[in-house]
């Protein structure tokens, strides 16, 4: 009896510790949300809608209108999405349909995973030392102020960072398209490209959309690399080559210097929105992918 009882207690402890650590994660998430809300509250109350509808951000006069950052975030993320889409889609199609197995496919997959795992500060450095001089040359060539850094540079870096992410999801959803459907199409005399365009991509489209959405969420929240190359200007950007700031980059840039309470609270309000937006995007994207998996399963 003795060993059996010990085992039961051991099992109970094991189970309890699992539940506890799981609960802890949920609690941290909830508390984090609560912290953001309470600390952002003074700014929410004081500035109301003006916070997102005005574009003067001046800590010295305590004027906080974050419109420029919202626009900066949307501009960089959408641009990054458009730039990355042809590349991530091509890689997805290649790995999900043309090279599902084999050495080439494995090497490609490993390299994409490596790209996804590079710390973002390294992307930032690379952008600063390689991309910025290129952009500057380009700007001199077309005859606009040669900042080098700016919205467009940030978008390029972001595009590079989200390609592996979008490609990994895209590859999975394309590979998930049932073989029976492809065979049905081939048996009707279709070529590989016709099968791909008429059957595979339409069948995978909701998953591909979800992958795009998730990478958009990623682009919105990316901080370090963007902060390093975007130019950190609080003015409303006048062109895509102008320096700017995103919601994430302004937080990273000003947090350590923010001394007065409303400045801190305004930055936290930005963080709160960032948190909510990325959470919603993630939930929707994951939900769509899960639904596709079930319907194909």
């Amino acid at each position: 009896m003795q060993p059996r009882k010990r085992q039961t207690i051991g099992e109970w402890i094991f189970k309890a510790s699992l539940v506890l650590s799981g609960g802890l994660i949920v609690a941290v998430l909830g508390l984090m949300c609560l912290t953001l809300l309470t600390h952002a509250w003074p700014s929410i109350v004081a500035l109301k809608w003006k916070f997102v509808t005005t574009n003067t951000w001046d800590p010295i006069t305590s004027t906080f209108g974050a419109e420029a950052f919202v626009i900066g975030t949307l501009l960089t993320s959408l641009l990054a999405l458009f730039i990355s889409l042809p590349f991530s889609l091509s890689v997805s199609i290649f790995l999900g349909e043309y090279a599902q197995r084999g050495i080439l496919s494995e090497v490609f997959k490993a390299m994409i995973n490596m790209l996804a795992g590079i710390p973002s500060v390294i992307y930032g450095f690379w952008g600063l030392f390689v991309l910025v001089p290129w952009i500057r040359t380009f700007q001199i060539w077309v005859g606009i102020p040669p900042f080098g850094i700016g919205i467009f540079t940030a978008a390029l870096i972001l595009a590079l960072m989200i390609i592996p992410y979008a490609a990994a999801i895209g590859r999975d959803v394309i590979a998930m398209v049932p073989n029976e459907l492809k065979e049905g199409a081939y048996s009707l005399g279709a070529t590989r490209m016709e099968v791909l365009l008429t059957i595979v991509l339409p069948t995978a489209r909701s998953g591909l959309f979800a992958g795009t959405l998730l990478s958009f969420g990623r682009a919105i929240g990316e901080t370090m690399a963007v902060t390093m190359v975007i130019g950190n200007s609080n003015l409303l950007p006048t062109s895509i080559f102008a320096p700017g700031n995103t919601m994430a980059s302004v937080i990273a840039n000003e947090f350590s210097e923010a001394t007065n309470a409303i400045h801190v609270s305004s930055l936290i309000e930005l963080a709160l929105y960032l948190f909510v937006i990325t959470a919603i995007i993630n939930i929707i994207g994951k939900w769509i992918i899960q639904r596709t998996e079930v319907s194909h399963g």
């Binding site: 459907l181 065979e183 081939y186 005399g189």
Partner: protein
């Protein structure tokens, strides 16, 4: 019997080192139903897939011998063009989930980029669905998704999809194995009617089904064609002991 529309001559097929189909010769008279039978893994599905060259979709295969469609060696033809002349229906119904019933029937034309007038489309859809005995059940909802249909209806939709290309030959790979008895009976009577316009070649595990609807039966075992002949003769006086044992249900 009618003149042969398709003739297989000394067909050999390998996947990597595995010899799947061994020196198989068989001919198919026009407008008849041939049932290919045999235990799992005997190579019957592989043989069927050689007829429309679907075997080329898998890597590392090798084929020897000839298959002649109305006298032409199919391995000399363009595979895509060949598949438009030979329809195929699969084990599990596979209507295209993103397409309506209407477009599923037209899928062969859509996939091949053949443009048709509205009138031609309507006509092809109605003809093919009528041939597949599905028209009356779906004519009110042609623009609904095909995946809302029952399994039996989905399979008939797939038959309509194949027939819409006006093929000479229809290949069926165990077309009723995923269906209930009622849907199976429906498809069987449909196939009996279809043989007036197409030549049907069907792989089946269902011995009773073969005896009910086929004109010719072929029995394969371990990659070889053991015996073939009229269904009546095969079921009454089989020549080979293995055929007799299989058809009387002793193994399979």
């Amino acid at each position: 019997m009618n003149p042969d529309i398709l003739t297989i001559e000394h067909l050999n097929f390998w996947i990597a080192d595995q010899h799947i189909v061994k020196d198989l010769s068989l001919s198919f008279p026009e407008n008849t139903i041939t049932a290919i039978m045999g235990p799992s893994g005997c190579g019957k599905t592989t043989m069927l897939r050689c007829i429309n060259r679907m075997h080329e979709l898998i890597e590392n295969t090798r084929v020897e011998g000839k298959i002649k469609l109305s006298g032409e060696n199919i391995f000399k033809l363009n595979a895509m063009a060949l598949r438009r002349r030979i329809g195929m229906v699969f084990q599990r119904p596979n209507p295209f989930p993103t397409m309506s019933i209407y477009n599923n029937v037209l899928a062969g034309y859509i996939l091949n980029g053949i443009s048709l007038s509205r009138k031609e489309k309507d006509q092809i859809v109605q003809e093919a669905l009528t041939q597949a005995a599905l028209w009356d059940e779906v004519k009110e909802g042609l623009h609904r998704k095909g995946t809302f249909l029952s399994g039996g209806q989905q399979q008939r939709l797939c038959i309509a999809r194949a027939l819409a290309m006006k093929p000479k030959i229809l290949l069926l790979d165990e077309p009723t194995s995923a269906l209930d008895p009622k849907a199976t009976a429906h498809i069987e009577s449909l196939l009996m009617e279809l043989k007036d316009t197409v030549t049907v070649i069907m792989v089946t595990h269902n011995i009773a089904q073969a005896s009910r609807i086929s004109n010719q039966t072929a029995f394969m075992y371990l990659g070889e064609l053991i015996e073939h002949g009229t269904t009546e003769r095969m079921f009454t006086v089989p020549k080979d002991k293995r055929t007799e044992e299989y058809l009387s249900g002793k193994f399979g």
